[in-house]
């Protein structure tokens, strides 16, 4: 059974149809990539899943429930977490606090919200440090988020999403703006997450997508023009014409 399914999901901004009747299923535990040229509507599609935008029409069934139009803070509590294409962190807070805030949000009860000292939640602090260790920032937990390099901020970006212990993880170009070296690290990281989380990945680096994905959807002008496993996608004539061009050898 798919964990999440969209049915003819559509979002228009005035005359522009950014996401056009997208129907898509993501199996529990799989890594499903969404590729497509800039402006194809991939990030808007994410924004619909996480509630940043309300869809114009269509449905989003998450775990058997229609969640279309639910506000972002509620969606987070259902277990959908995302990383952002443009790094979105809390610059003047410590790296630990950045991640801690994500673990606290997912608590069943917010006991001690306005009174207990934030450093007196040993379980949450431990989880936050664990996630930081996983992305390779364990040593830097006490630095401020603005003090680390862009590459490290991208790792933090991912850590914040992971710390929410999501059932569905949406990764919006985790490799955006990284050097080849940093990209390799990030790819290894995402590979480690595969299987442990249900992941939808937006990525431009085709080779990465082809080697990692269980399934791939190709978006073009807001519509899904092809879907399949990596081999099927590579062979798909329309995809090669619209997007892959000469990148992947026949």
């Amino acid at each position: 059974m798919p964990l999440v399914r969209t049915e003819r999901l559509t979002k228009s901004f005035g005359a522009l149809v950014a996401v056009n009747a997208v129907t898509l299923e993501v199996e529990e535990g799989s890594l499903h990539s969404v590729i497509g040229p800039n402006g194809a509507g991939k990030t808007t599609f994410f924004n619909l899943l996480t509630g940043q935008h309300a869809p114009t029409s269509g449905r989003i069934i998450f775990d058997g429930r229609d969640i279309a139009g639910t506000p972002p803070h509620r969606i987070a509590h259902l277990g959908i977490a995302r990383s952002f294409q443009r790094t979105s962190i809390f610059p003047t807070l410590s790296i630990l606090d950045n991640v801690w805030l994500a673990t606290f949000a997912r608590q069943e009860s917010w006991r001690g919200l306005a009174w207990r000292r934030a450093d007196r939640y040993p379980e949450l602090t431990r989880r936050a440090l664990e996630v930081l260790g996983e992305v390779g920032l364990g040593e830097k937990a006490s630095l401020l988020a603005r003090e680390i390099s862009h590459g490290e901020q991208r790792q933090l970006e991912l850590a914040i999403a992971l710390a929410a212990a999501p059932r569905l993880l949406l990764l919006d170009e985790p490799g955006a703006g990284l050097s080849p070296d940093e990209t390799q690290k990030m790819v290894a990281l995402v590979r480690k997450l595969k299987g442990r989380y249900t992941i939808i990945l937006i990525e431009h680096k085709i080779d990465v997508v082809m080697t990692m994905s269980d399934r791939i959807s190709v978006m073009h002008f807001g519509s899904v023009i092809a879907e399949g496993n990596p081999v099927e996608i590579q062979r798909h004539p329309e995809v090669r014409r619209a997007y892959l061009g000469g990148v992947v050898a026949p």
């Binding site: 803070h73 987070a76 952002f84 809390f90 807070l93 606290f104 306005a114 934030a118 929410a164």
Partner: protein, 320 residues
């Protein structure tokens, strides 16, 4: 000794020494204004919401508690409790409307609503006394203790100030404090993590309003009058001003700011009628060079000193 212990020690010392050097009424006003500033700082410094209408909560509480003190002779605890409740409720009402907007619109809304409260107080002369204010606020004894003597009232206010500071410290170090800072830093991400941003902002308003309300009642009992200005926008501006000078976003900033602001305005104003000019210059310096106010200037001074003294310390340790 930890930095926090040092700060508490400094504040205790200030509480004890201030009435020795400064007139008691002014010393009392400093701590009252500091409580007022603590409330604003939670909004402005921690949540990033520049409220230009804090006098709404200060003045409303002062009027309500003052009225009941004057005509119904309620006891001090009830008056303070009511002031806190009135401050919180008026802040909830104003905050509910304001958190729907952001940026400039937010600021203008807090200002406009402040003006609404001001003109209500101005027009409703039968209750508020309009332009003349509401005089004759008594200062009843507390548990048999007479607080009419300036020093006794000073002690009571100082005690409440320390209690307020401790409560605010707990709040800013709690998860809520972190969440509010997260909202200040990045609202979109805070929401994506699962925080209901408008509701959290409203919480900041309510807490800030409660502090303002407490300050308002103490102010009314200090001077025995609720002046119309206590609900006016100039008063709202003053607390923003004092907090910025002291250092917004740091726990002790508004305390230092209140000291600088009240002390300057009381001591310099008697010598020089154009003293606001001096405040203006101080403000420009803070905005241009020390965004973090006195607190930041202080930290920078010590960092600078440490950097310049480091070589000599190393030299002293070297073998002779």
């Amino acid at each position: 000794m930890t930095a926090s212990a040092k700060a508490w020690l400094a504040i205790l010392a200030a509480v004890v020494l201030l009435p020795v050097f400064v007139r008691h009424a002014i010393a009392t006003e400093i701590w009252i204004f500091a409580i007022f500033g603590l409330g604003l700082n939670l909004l402005m410094g921690y949540t990033g919401l520049l409220s230009f209408g804090q006098a709404t909560f200060f003045g409303s509480a002062a009027y309500v508690a003052g009225y009941l003190l004057k005509f119904y002779g309620i006891n001090v605890f009830l008056a303070l409790g009511l002031g806190i409740v009135v401050g919180a409720i008026s802040a909830a009402a104003v905050g509910y409307l304001c958190v729907q907007r952001s940026g400039l619109y937010f600021i203008m809304l807090t200002f406009a609503l402040n003006q609404m409260f001001y003109f209500t107080a101005y027009q409703w002369t039968t209750v508020t006394g309009g332009e003349d204010g509401m005089p004759g606020i008594p200062r009843p004894s507390v548990l048999g203790l007479d607080i009419h003597r300036p020093l006794a009232y000073y002690a009571a206010v100082a005690l409440l100030f320390i209690l307020s500071l401790w409560i605010m410290k707990r709040i800013v170090e709690s998860p809520l404090g972190k969440i509010l800072q997260a909202i200040r830093e990045n609202e979109l991400r805070a929401e994506a993590l699962g925080y209901n941003v408008p509701r959290m902002k409203l919480a900041a308003f309510v807490v800030g309003g409660a502090f303002s309300g407490l300050a308002g009642v103490l102010y009314a009992m200090l001077f025995g009058i609720v002046p119309l200005e206590s609900i006016g926008f100039v008063f709202s501006g003053n607390v923003v001003f004092a907090t910025l000078i002291g250092g917004s976003g740091s726990l002790y900033g508004p305390v230092i700011g209140s000291f600088v602001f009240i002390w300057l305005s009381e001591s310099v104003s008697s010598m020089w009628a154009r003293w606001p000019l001096l405040l203006g210059v101080a403000f420009v310096i803070v905005v241009l060079f020390f965004r973090g106010g006195v607190v930041e200037a202080w930290a920078r001074f010590w960092a600078w000193r440490a950097a310049h003294r480091a070589p000599t310390v190393a030299g002293a340790d070297a073998p002779r």
